[in-house]
């Protein structure tokens, strides 16, 4: 198998504070990889670094065999690396439809057909968004807003979709629904990297996972191995 993303010896500091120290990980094409770990372990920081949202101190990031370190977010989305940010970050005063349009902002105008094709795909995945397409995004429930945030990222047809805490603040029903959709998106050929505090949920859908602890990787492995791991059991799965 070939790697869609490979991160080598990544170090990031916020001023004098080290957030990540020499972290290496990779994602193979077609995989769902979960990054789990406690608050402040540097999970989100790693994700933001991939998207060009925080400056990188040291290290190397290769995406589809290309060094993407230091590229701006708008270059990265064009390459197919898209983030669903923590807290959803949808455009609350704009309609659901306009939010999806903004997802395709970098898709140039003469690709109208492409836009229609993609929005139909998003509507097929999340029919509720089609129903509510004229509604202001801020009036959606938080679960629907999360669907919109994912739909917005899908408008860019990413080859690697990054998600930062997608279950945060959602009711269990929505968490279930969203994770099911992620599997569906993955089955469609999109690789997924998911950073999640809800470790159980993330381990359920992933192929492989990394456990982050205070700025470095404490454990990594296949899902089955991790689910059997004593440490994981103790910390996340309630013994």
């Amino acid at each position: 198998m070939n790697k869609i993303l490979e991160v080598k010896n990544l170090s990031i500091s916020y001023g004098p504070v080290k957030a990540l120290e020499n972290v290496s990980f990779f994602i193979e094409k077609g995989e769902i990889v979960a990054v789990i770990g406690p608050n402040g372990a540097g999970k989100s920081t790693a994700l933001k670094a991939l998207c060009g949202l925080v400056p990188i101190k040291r290290g190397e990031i290769n995406f589809q065999d290309e060094n993407i370190k230091g590229l701006t977010p708008n270059r990265l989305v064009k390459k197919g690396l898209c983030l669903v940010p923590e807290g959803r970050r949808i455009f609350t005063t704009m309609s659901v439809f306009e939010n999806l349009e903004m997802g395709a902002f970098t898709v140039s105008k003469n690709k109208n057909l492409l836009f229609k094709e993609r929005i139909e795909k998003v509507f097929k995945l999340f029919p509720i968004l089609k129903e509510r397409k004229r509604q202001k995004a801020g009036t959606l429930s938080s679960g629907e807003q999360q669907m919109l945030a994912i739909g917005r990222a899908l408008m860019l047809k990413p080859s690697l979709l990054l998600l930062d805490e997608p279950s945060l603040g959602l009711s269990p029903n929505y968490v279930e629904a969203i994770f099911e959709k992620l599997v569906e998106i993955n089955n469609d050929g999109t690789s997924i990297l998911i950073v999640e505090q809800n470790a159980l949920k993330a381990l359920e859908i992933c192929h492989r996972a990394y456990l982050f602890e205070i700025g470095s990787i404490a454990l990594e492995g296949e899902k089955a191995a991790l689910l059997r791991n004593e440490k994981i059991k103790e910390v996340f799965l309630g013994g």
Binding site: C51, L53, T72, P73, N74, L76, V77, K78, C82, L83, V84, P85, R88, R89, I90, F91, T92, T93, M94, E98, E101, M102, G103, F105, T106, K109, R152, A153, M155, L156
Partner: protein, 292 residues
């Protein structure tokens, strides 16, 4: 008499609305009160004066060239004054002070170039107007109301319907969300400055067809534009139209029974009442952590 006051109110109000919509478009992206918007309004009038009287260009061409130059001035203001501050993550008070600095600098530059004396864009004597429902309205006044309302609606349409207008709203709603979909907010800020400043320049030119041009004309204009924005709800475009007309009418009807010198006082009383009782304005929604 009252008909004439209503007419004056509508003229003033449509100009205020035009200032307020430009101010609003810019405010949406940068989230601070750009006082320098007022001096762009004054610069618009002076640019039109220079093109029309000094370079003897055709009036329509002068008008549109002045708008283009006002847009460039707005872009220059952001690039030279505000963008360096954004790079340093300056606190909001610093932006406010910078915008006053820009205002004073350009106002003095205008004075240096054109002198402090009063100029006018008017040509020839004032013609007799038409009588409509008891109010006398001149051609020029019809032009002022018509053009400012048309430009207002074009500005509104731009924000509502175009890709760049939507991107301005997206950056306004959530800058991080805009970044992750690949919207370059620096570029969008420049677009907002260009469009907003062109509208301010247009307002300055239009009002100069009726009144005099002087270097200090921008201060009163931006204060009225801001009051109109606050009355309508800061950041809200239909609110800017409502606030502008409301303020224009209130000022002019207010002086029906008292002296005209109280006009500005009326405007500021309205401002104080709104700040005390309804700071989010008529059409505004409650905002969190927005900067003034």
């Amino acid at each position: 008499m009252i008909q004439q006051l209503i007419l004056s109110g509508i003229i003033a109000g449509s100009i205020y609305a035009l200032i307020a919509i430009g101010f609003t478009i810019i405010y949406r992206t940068i989230k601070f009160f750009n006082f320098a918007h007022g001096v762009v309004y004054a610069a618009g009038a002076y640019l039109a004066y220079a093109l029309f009287f000094l370079l003897k260009l055709n009036p329509i061409l002068s008008f549109f060239l002045s708008l283009a130059m006002a847009a460039l001035l707005g872009i220059a203001i952001d690039r030279l004054a505000y963008r360096p501050l954004r790079k340093h993550n300056a606190p909001s008070l610093i932006y406010l002070i910078a915008s006053f600095g820009v205002f004073i600098f350009i106002q003095n530059l205008i004075q240096l170039i054109f002198g402090a004396q009063i100029l006018t864009l008017r040509t020839g004597p004032v013609k007799e107007g038409y009588n409509i429902l008891g109010a006398v309205i001149t051609n020029i006044q019809v032009l002022i109301i018509g053009v400012s309302l048309i430009l207002f609606f074009l500005g509104w349409l731009f924000i509502l319907k175009t890709k760049l207008g939507k991107a301005i709203r997206a950056v306004s709603d959530d800058p991080v969300g805009a970044r992750v979909v690949g919207i370059n907010s620096e570029r969008i800020i420049l677009v907002a400055f260009a469009i907003g400043s062109a509208l301010a320049g247009a307002a300055g030119i239009l009002i100069s067809l009726e009144t005099n041009i002087e270097p200090t004309m921008g201060l009163n204009a931006i204060l009225k534009g801001i009051i109109a924005s606050i009355v309508g709800g800061v950041g809200n475009i239909p609110g800017a139209l409502f606030g502008g007309l409301f303020l224009g009418l209130a000022e002019n009807l207010g002086i029906w029974k008292i002296q005209a010198g109280w006009k500005d006082t009326i405007a500021f009383v309205i401002l104080i009442i709104f700040l005390l009782l309804r700071p989010s304005g008529i059409m505004g929604v409650k905002t969190e952590k927005e900067k003034i």
